[in-house]
């Protein structure tokens, strides 16, 4: 835990730059919205001003909320997230209008606002992330319950061969999205308390005491349960990846990383042997372009590749391609839609935005001095970064496709709220406790900016 003091004093002037970044992100998002509408219909959309005002209004309101409740927050995370959300929404409008269901995109706009509200609410409620450190086991247990909830008979709903949905009558949601965040908080808390024990080991073999290992084995078991009973490869991969990374960062021992990866490889292999739908996915991944499966099991992957290849370097232009040929293009395959219409440059820009989020998240981890805060930032960042890699790698056919949403961009309500919470926790971690923010707010130059 080498000390890099949080340079709070230096951060103060970030305010105006941050607002400028938010406005630029809004401008790019509104431009994308206008371009997709023009690309589709050839006419300037008449509601673009309303859209611009509403989008910018909400985004700037969110920025002021950060200034108010997390004054010294990282200035990059929020504008980057606004841009990703705005580009994603423009693309969803483009896709859903093309499919004749603009109301689905409007629904996602509402979810984006709900996500923003959750973000602000989380900042207000969690005034100091270290509060969370006090409820290690409560949070861990809650996370476990949410992860396993879909298995409970009568609660879980199976969609596309995976039981990840819980039907609450009005909405179906994926409790695993929330469960994962709670598990990350639990691991950050648990590992920050026990990291010396786990790193040092006792006895001749240098193994940690079973008492210290117990909860970790439980977390590993949970990810296997997710894999086997809920048949959700993507969620399992994320959970396990985050788990292994956090243990490794906490202990500094490579053996955990190697052991963890070996365990996952074994689990994945058993999963491949045991489940036909896993075999189908692996086969589709390997042979998507094979003439025998290209119109069948390989159809979605092949169409994704066709969209990307048709887009080429600069893309067809927003609204000018045919991304709706891809099944589930709005959720799993939205990256391919960007690839077709904005080209390699568009995809690269999108991935770079995520890399910026990851970079800022890890920077926050380095800057914090508290072990829990460090591990929390690492865990949340890894969760976000791995999710992007899993779905982007799946669409690009680097790895077998597992259906996880592209954070902030894909269609999906639960995912938006979950990502908003992850970002809120990172922002709160970067800003430090709220009471410190209140003290700093008394500086006269900042008073004006706060309006």
């Amino acid at each position: 835990m080498s000390a890099v003091a949080a340079p709070t004093a230096v951060r103060a002037p970030r305010g105006r730059t941050g607002l400028a970044a938010v406005v630029v992100a809004c401008g790019a998002s509104v431009l994308a919205y206008a371009l997709q509408a023009m690309g589709l219909s050839g006419e300037r959309p008449d509601n673009v001003v309303v859209y611009a005002v509403a989008f910018t209004g909400f985004a700037v309101a969110g920025w002021y909320a950060i200034r108010r409740f997390a004054h010294a927050a990282d200035p990059v995370l929020y504008p980057t997230a606004v841009l990703l959300g705005g580009l994603g929404l423009a693309m969803l409008y483009r896709l859903m209008v093309d499919r004749g269901h603009p109301e689905f995109a409007a629904e996602q706009a509402v979810w984006l606002v709900v996500g923003l509200a959750s973000f602000v609410l989380a900042l207000v409620v969690i005034r100091d992330v270290r509060q969370l450190d006090a409820y290690t086991y409560t949070i861990g247990l809650a996370g476990l319950i949410l992860l396993l909830l879909p298995i409970v008979p009568g609660v879980g709903t199976e969609i596309n061969g995976a039981k990840l949905w819980v039907n609450l009558g009005v909405v179906t949601f994926q409790p695993a999205e929330a469960g994962r965040i709670l598990i990350v908080i639990f691991l950050a808390s648990y590992l920050s308390q026990r990291r010396e024990m786990l790193a040092a080991g006792v006895g001749r073999l240098g193994l940690p005491r079973p008492k210290d290992l117990g909860p970790l084995i439980l977390a590993w078991g949970a990810s296997l349960v997710v894999l086997f009973l809920e048949r959700d490869m993507g969620a399992s991969l994320l959970l396990f990846g985050v788990f292994v990374v956090m243990v490794w960062v906490a202990t500094g021992r490579w053996s955990y990383l190697v052991l963890g990866l070996a365990l996952f490889a074994i689990g994945a292999y058993i999963g491949y042997l045991a489940f036909s739908h896993v075999q189908v996915r692996v086969d589709a991944w390997l042979h998507a372009m094979d003439p025998k499966v290209v119109a069948d099991q390989g159809y979605q992957l092949a169409q994704g590749w066709f969209a990307l290849a048709t887009g080429g370097m600069v893309g067809t232009g927003l609204g000018q391609g045919s991304p709706t040929l891809i099944p589930y293009v709005g959720s799993d395959f939205i990256l391919a839609a960007f690839g077709e219409e904005l080209g390699m440059l568009g995809v690269a820009a999108l991935l770079l935005l995520y890399l910026v989020l990851v970079g800022r998240g890890l920077r926050i981890a380095v800057e914090r001095t508290d072990g829990f805060e460090k591990l929390l930032a690492v865990g949340l960042t890894t969760l976000l970064g791995l999710q992007v890699f899993v779905i982007a790698g799946g669409v690009l056919r680097l790895i077998p496709l597992t259906g996880v949403p592209l954070p902030l961009v894909s269609y999906g309500g639960t995912s938006r709220v979950a990502t908003a919470i992850v970002l809120a926790l990172l922002v709160r971690t970067s800003a430090g406790p709220w009471f410190r923010a209140r003290r700093e707010r008394s500086a006269p130059t900042e008073e004006q900016a706060d309006g």
Partner: protein
């Protein structure tokens, strides 16, 4: 922990680098290969039909052979539909442009220009994108004379076969009509079911209208090939007045076959000797078989190659690999065996000298040969497209000049051969091609067509052919299976009148 966090950062950068590399591979490196897969047909077709495809015009720049009009069906994914106002008249030349069966003819050959994807369009496309204008393909201007094409169709009437008219001075294809042809319209627009239905009809037709008799089929040239044999003799220094023995039959050494004149007639009244000019006028097989054998295989094959005939090895394969005379459309150039084929096989050489055995040609190639003779020995490759124009401004984007192919004979030889061909029309087998007030040069051909099928009737010609006149049109005609005269048909009776009508119409 900070060390691990930094390492984690590096690991993430590495993971994303792998993503970037894969993006570059799929979207740039392998993009064309992936996007052109047949399974991506839906995108390929939508992209094509989103462009207002350029027009194909006749040489007058007014007559529209193919054009794109906005699709009236708002639910169709295709913004434009292709129309062919002239129906089947130019079908085999424009080809079709089908959502299901792809492209043929000029639609295929000129596709990058018609679709506006050729490199010449890059600047225009960029400005179109900047100003938000719809992309528009280029206009293809052809050499075709719509009136002459109509005359050719009327002259053919119900007869199966083909007519090709060439401008000898530059190789321009003035008219090229085959009967039967096909109308590209039903193959290019309509519902998928309608298109499939039209496809079934055209592909199940036993007369194969999708294959143009004029340039995509090959036939025995028969006596029209004597123009090539005569060229070889003249080039060798054996003039038109050189006397040749004139037997009734020519026994072929080493076989029990013989060569006889058409209808087993005596040549030149049965005189003891005959000149090449006299033999040419009456189309005496025996004389030209004799000339071919005396010239020997090397000279015969060399002359054929100079005229663009593709070398074949009939004992190995009937196919031909050489690229000889270039043409914008896929076509079959004539065949003549490699000299080695005639080693110890004089009989084959004798038959080849009179356009039988393994000689093959079609009206387009024959018209090009006539053009070379008409044009003082300079042979042009056929030209069908003269230029591509910007679809909006009409400014020329690319021009295609005349393409000189070879010099198969000297100007002197050409003049001598021209005179020989003029006497064919004046007083020989081709008198049906006479035009009052115009000197016409020609050569008939009547090629056997298997045991029980009537012969194919040929005529190859050009005009005006008086001494010192510049020939303006060369016409070759084939009428399949004897036309309306059946077994009694000759090139002079059946094919020559068709060539005459076309030349007369063109020369006015």
């Amino acid at each position: 922990m900070d060390r691990q966090i930094r390492r984690l950062g590096i690991a993430f950068v590495a993971l994303f680098a792998v993503l970037f590399a894969q993006v570059a591979y799929v979207q740039v490196v392998a993009a064309d290969r992936i996007a052109n897969q047949p399974a991506n047909a839906a995108r390929q077709i939508r992209a094509e039909y989103a462009v207002e495809r350029g027009q194909i015009l006749a040489a007058d720049i007014k007559t529209v052979l193919a054009t794109s009009v906005p699709n009236k069906d708002p639910d169709s994914p295709y913004l434009f539909v292709r129309q062919y106002p002239m129906g089947e008249l130019f079908g085999q030349l424009t080809g079709y442009y089908s959502q299901i069966y792809g492209r043929t003819g000029l639609e295929q050959a000129m596709n990058p220009y018609l679709a506006g994807t050729a490199p010449e369009f890059t600047t225009q496309n960029l400005t179109d994108i900047i100003f938000g204008r719809a992309r528009r393909g280029g206009t293809v201007v052809t050499t075709l004379d719509a009136n002459l094409q109509r005359v050719a169709r009327e002259a053919m009437g119900d007869l199966q076969g083909a007519v090709v008219a060439i401008d000898p001075t530059n190789g321009d294809v003035l008219a090229m009509y085959s009967n039967p042809g096909f109308d590209p319209q039903p193959l290019s627009s309509g519902t998928p079911a309608q298109i499939q239905d039209a496809w079934r009809r055209v592909t199940s037709d036993p007369d194969t209208p999708l294959v143009a008799h004029a340039f995509q089929d090959l036939y025995l040239p028969g006596s029209t090939f004597k123009t090539v044999t005569a060229s070889a003799a003249l080039e060798h220094g054996w003039g038109p007045e050189k006397e040749w023995p004139n037997p009734h039959h020519l026994e072929l050494d080493g076989t029990d076959e013989h060569i006889e004149n058409f209808g087993d007639e005596f040549c030149n009244g049965g005189s003891k000797t005959v000149t090449m000019a006299q033999a040419f006028e009456s189309s005496c097989n025996v004389t030209f078989a004799e000339i071919g054998m005396r010239l020997k295989a090397q000279r015969m094959a060399g002359q054929a190659q100079a005229y663009g005939f593709c070398r074949t090895e009939p004992t190995v394969s009937p196919a031909c690999q050489d690229e000889t005379i270039p043409f914008v459309l896929p076509w079959e150039v004539g065949h003549f065996p490699d000299a080695s084929y005639f080693d110890n096989n004089e009989a084959a050489l004798a038959r080849s000298a009179i356009g039988l055995d393994n000689d093959l040609t079609n009206p387009l190639h024959l018209a090009l040969i006539a053009s070379a003779i008409a044009n003082d020995g300079t042979m042009y490759a056929p030209r069908l497209v003269t230029e591509v124009r910007d679809g909006t401004t009409g400014q020329p984007i690319k021009t295609f000049g005349p393409d000189e192919f070879s010099h198969p004979l000297t100007a002197d030889s050409a003049r001598q051969l021209r005179a020989m061909m003029v006497s064919v029309v004046d007083s020989g087998t081709g008198t049906a091609a006479r035009i009052g007030g115009t000197v016409v040069a020609g050569k008939t051909g009547t090629a056997t067509n298997g045991e029980n099928t009537p012969p194919n009737a040929w005529f190859t010609s050009f005009a005006p052919a008086g001494p010192g006149q510049t020939a303006r049109i060369a016409v070759a005609v084939i009428v399949l299976d004897g036309g309306d005269l059946g077994n009694e048909a000759t090139g002079g009776q059946v094919a020559a009148p068709i060539a005459k009508q076309v030349m007369e119409a063109y020369l006015g």
